[in-house]
Amino acid sequence: MNASQHTRDAIILAAAIIVTGSVIIMRLWVPEDVASYVRHGLLLPVLKYSLLLPLIACGCILSSERPAVLFPSLVVLAATLWLGLRWAEPTVLSDQQLAVLLVRYPVLATTTGVAAGCALLLPPRARRWLVPLVCAICGFGLSLSIALESPGDDYSGWFSSAGGLGGIIVVIASIALAGTVQQFGSSAWLSVGGRILGSWLIAASLMLAGSAVVPQRPLGSLTIPATLFNGADLPREP
């Protein structure tokens, strides 16, 4: 673990203060109907696995970096999240064809998954220069996904901002978790876990891309191949 104890603690405390403060403000001053959008926006990155896994990967990658890489990468993540949310409104959401294309073909989930997965598979020294780029890809992909998931009414801005904040919280929680695991085990074992997580991400992304390209079959249309076992003929459905 290269990020110093104080650096990690400072990031976690800052995040804790922001989250706790936001919750108090929301409880006291924000109307319930708006708060509902904020709640759903905050939990979107946690409940949508195609967003959650790349963000956890980002946190795991960042947890092993020095402050010189960690802080700029966190800034890049936050900046690309904000930029993506600002860009999504006038472009993606106004261009129905592009929006449909992004939803129909999971370009965002596949790109973020493969980028984060490849970074985890690389040795720490080799990936150092890629970390800000991976954070940028994940931040931008996350913000576009949030925009596409947005309820699309007057309060969509609340939803989007909360989604971005939720994404940052997931990354910071992953940094903290990876740091905590590090204290009970060796960095070698954390590296093994990270590589396995990277392989999950790449495999899931490839499967997801494959499922989008392959035409959807209706439920019940699956036929068992005749040569499923030992070439024995199985009874086919009429």
């Binding site: 990690r8 696995y49 999971p106 396995i196 209706p218 076992f229």
Partner: protein
């Protein structure tokens, strides 16, 4: 992590959780071909998948060195290729036989503590991963939420590998690894049973 930071983290998690919505998202619902949960269950409830994937982790731990992570990393990556073959409707023959053989062969290599060359171990794992991925991939296009389904079964696969690595490392020390080899023999016998009684798969 210092006590202050831990308290801060717990406080923020509590605040985050207290602000959670009462309703869940539809794609989290389970079901035979639902989202994450059904994808996650798929490799676990199938004893043939479970044993093969456990065996991959145990074998990696038994061989030691880089193999601890190269085998469990290779398996899902190649499994994805098999999954895409399954989704595309490609007619891969002898799928169930391939899966049963994977249980048998992986059990055998653990039982004999085969220190295979890296390329041979990876090749063996890759061939078997194609069959396992194909079996999963056939179901994916019908899933209600393919993204969550794919994530679910890939995560379950990885977790089974990690458990396998843990079991392998745990059993490597007592009695000079004889327990690990005995477990491998038991897996091989189960695989042989699957081969001889294919109706069970």
């Amino acid at each position: 992590m210092s006590r202050t930071a831990t308290s801060g983290l717990l406080l923020s998690v509590f605040a985050f959780a207290s602000f959670a919505p009462d309703t869940a998202y539809a794609h989290l619902q389970g079901g035979p071909l639902g989202g994450f949960q059904s994808g996650f269950r798929h490799p676990i409830v199938g004893i043939d998948h479970l044993l093969a994937m456990l065996a991959v982790g145990i074998w990696g731990a038994q061989m030691g060195g880089r193999n601890v992570w190269t085998l469990p990393v290779t398996f899902p990556l190649i499994m994805a290729v098999g999954g895409i073959l399954g989704m595309s409707g490609f007619d891969l023959p002898y799928v169930e036989l391939g899966i049963a053989c994977s249980v048998f062969v992986l059990g055998l290599v653990i039982a004999f503590a085969w220190k295979a060359p890296d390329w041979a171990a990876l090749l063996l794992i890759a061939v078997f991963a194609i069959f396992h991925g194909y079996a999963h991939g056939v179901e994916l296009p019908q899933a209600v939420d393919p993204a969550s389904y794919a994530n679910g079964f890939v995560v379950a696969t990885g977790l089974i590998h990690i458990i396998g690595i843990g079991i392998g490392l745990l059993l490597e020390r007592p009695w000079k690894g004889q327990l690990s080899r005995a477990l491998g023999a038991a897996i091989a016998v189960t695989g042989l049973f699957f081969i001889s009684v294919p109706q069970l798969l």
